[in-house]
Subunit: 457 residues, 2 copies
């Protein structure tokens, strides 16, 4: 937990920005898995963590801007709680540690909200919170998202987008735990093993780091499937395996790193060609990061480098700028170049990407690839984002485009057919925007062909 002063200052800034009314920050409850009491690991809401710091189920908070009151609502602990979950500081004590001096029983919250002339809330994403908020605020569950407070959303996005120095320390820590996960995977990947054996070793490193996983690990020899959470394949010589995994540290900051590993000891020449092209896309994108540039421009830069490289390798023919304008790149990289990262791996995604990654006058494209770009707007010093280009050979997508004769003048489908079993390559780092450029967070993680192969002993 940060000092009380940090949380007090964040809430003061929030109050100044929103101006008036009552702000409701819902905490998360335990989340049921296969029955009410068999719960997933607890994860507090990130807005609650940012403003109130307490990771504990069943509490919510109100900031009354007009009266200046800040109240945390939750039960105090009973003897049954002590028997089942152990002794712990009282809720009042935990509240004091974040500079809040008033706690009340949860049943006092609805009446507090009913008295308010205006309640500001963020779009709920937990369904139990939706049910409660619907009742308290007399809004149908289906309308809660659209009735969320735009002032509150914008104020939170403005605060959480710019990471403070003490947040960067936490994010470097998360990346360094993540680094251990990736080095472990590079060392343990071996033909004949099952993917889940490596997934287990990766998870062990996250737990050993004192936190947990920031998101479900992607570790697959079918890297061409972008969000592949199946881990039952056997690692086979000659395949590439994509490892997209990250730790959440004990302060709940996320790392999100991808590396691509040859199952055999080294890359084949064919694999090196694609790998080095993705590496070039990544490193040149990082070099281009600086305040003021649109991240959309960097996405397109990465796409352009890819199209040039794929043309040089014989997959494409023609003018690269024309291909870029028409969207040929979607075949190879049907996802965005990156996203904001912080307390959430897709930072503030609950608040809406139109506020986090876009702005008025900058709308989302519908083109394959660009339509999945979560961060497009002008970068500012203090932003932290992922840079994660990739090249994939997706047989189903190739077949579809080929059957439609799509971009037949640009695409060499007969060459593509010889890459149907290639899989994919993705390389990803987490970068802080600095006043003059960027800084890649954490200690360096093996990334060049030589560095990766050196760990494949």
């Amino acid at each position: 937990m940060f000092s009380a002063q940090t949380y007090i200052e964040r809430r003061s800034a929030l109050k100044r920005s929103v101006g008036s009314g009552v702000i409701l920050i819902m905490g998360n409850e335990e989340a049921p898995m296969n029955y009410h009491d068999n719960t997933y690991r607890y994860r507090q809401d990130s807005n609650f963590l940012y403003f109130f710091g307490i990771s504990h189920a069943g509490i919510s908070a109100v900031i009354d801007i007009d009266s200046g009151e800040e109240i945390i609502f939750g039960h105090e602990f009973s003897m049954d709680d002590i028997i089942w979950v152990g002794p712990q500081p009282t809720l009042a004590e935990q509240a004091r540690r974040v500079g809040v001096y008033r706690t009340e029983e949860p049943n006092k919250l609805p009446e507090r909200l009913k008295k308010a002339s205006k309640v500001h809330f963020t779009p709920p994403y937990r369904f139990d919170n939706m049910i409660m908020m619907s009742e308290w605020l007399n809004i149908p569950t289906s309308q809660l998202k659209e009735k969320a407070s735009v002032e509150l959303i914008k104020a939170i996005v403005a605060l959480r987008s710019i990471k403070s120095d003490e947040e960067i320390v936490q994010m470097e820590h998360a990346v360094n735990i993540t680094r251990e996960m990736h080095i472990e995977a590079m060392q343990k990947t071996k033909a004949g093993k099952k993917e889940y054996e490596i997934v287990a070793a990766i998870h062990a490193k996250a737990l050993e780091g004192g936190g947990n996983l920031a998101y479900g690990t992607i570790f697959s020899i079918n890297g061409q499937t972008l969000h592949n959470h199946y881990h039952g394949n056997t690692l086979t010589d000659g395949r590439l395996v994509i490892n997209d995994s990250g730790a959440e540290n004990a302060m709940f900051y996320a790392g999100d790193i991808t590396r691509t590993i040859p199952v055999s000891k080294g890359f084949t020449e064919k694999q090196k060609e694609i790998y080095n092209l993705v590496l070039k896309m990544e490193t040149e994108s990082i070099v281009a990061l600086r305040p003021g540039i649109q991240y959309r421009e960097i996405h397109l830069l990465a796409n352009k480098i890819m199209l040039e490289g794929m043309r040089d390798l014989g997959f494409l023919n023609g003018n690269v700028d024309e291909m870029l304008a028409e969207g040929v790149q979607g075949l190879f990289m049907p996802h965005g170049l990156g996203h904001a990262i912080g307390l959430d791996v897709h930072d503030m995604e609950d608040l809406g990407e139109k506020y986090v990654g876009y702005r008025e006058g900058l709308e989302r494209s519908t083109q394959l690839g660009l339509k999945s770009l979560r961060m497009a707007k002008e970068l500012e010093a203090g932003f932290v984002l992922t840079v994660e280009p990739g090249i994939y050979f997706i047989p189903e997508l190739i077949d579809k485009w080929k059957s439609e004769n799509k971009f037949i003048n640009f695409i060499n489908y007969s060459k593509l057919d010889t890459y149907r079993d290639f899989g994919g390559v993705r390389i990803e780092d987490n970068c802080l925007i600095t006043p003059t450029g960027s800084k890649t967070l954490g200690n360096p993680i093996p990334k060049t062909v030589e560095e990766v192969e050196a760990l494949r002993g």
Copy 2:
């Protein structure tokens, strides 16, 4: 997945038992963690798995008893699904594998329910399902549990309580993966390590078994806290550590095993006394298992053995039957002896323990310990349940009772005071009730003092 025939027979038995109307079996959706799309690992609903076998988000099923129709409602996969989550059998194909020959889009489900004269449903525990069901069935979310179908609940409990031979094969498999987790923990526990390092190694074994954890691991030097999910303590010489952890295998059957390990290489004499008493409670309880006996009686048998043992060790004075009647045992074992286990670690807890572990005429006690007993009724061949006695020294509870002079004639509080830092001991196995007695599932897991110490090399 079992054969289509297995699922067809289960559904036929269900239809015969419920008799008439439409049965709605809700599948589980993805569960959001810190925003909508960052989800916990997917877990299908166990009733859905039992009758329809498909582990896939976003599908639900209807059994129309009167017309005989069985329909699975869900989206067919799109090209976007293939890009992001990979190619897979169509929903229609997956349905055929469990003997269902009709699939429809999800938006057809509400009208299907509206046409039905009677819709049978189980008590929902996922809040997104509650919101949908509330709308479809026009029942306030707060009333859904009480309006669940008692006929359906009773029919499901009757079926799922009696494990078939092919289910027992799966449950032995889950226990054998769990056995690996426990042996790993016994071998890796060492003074100076952090609890989470061992927790990580335990989880790795669960993943290597091809499934995952059946529930959040309890691994703590503060075993006196019954559901302690904190893993940040350093293992210190002289402490006992309770390891309550279990695997869910690839078919979603759970194992639930507890062992208690000395952090030092061997148990102290003081620890051996308590450990061997808990071991006696466990083994004698298992010997007493047989069809027809109430599990409540076995819980009380374990309590009686404990009281006799604790009297012999000088913690108690007086008549054991009197102590048992008055509830002295709650101080040392404030939980129940065990619970049903199967597809859920607390099997069918969503359906209500009054149907699973109790029956008409057998109501739950309010006494500390007995009030937490989830299984009390007469055992039947085919039941699988946990046997998990424990003895704990809970300083806060001792202090409370002492300050109230509670059972001052029975309890030697001055001796108890010398055990304030003892922690706790629990030993747990999973047992199938056979026609003549019981069978402990899986290969034997080290349990005696000598067996545990042999792994502490």
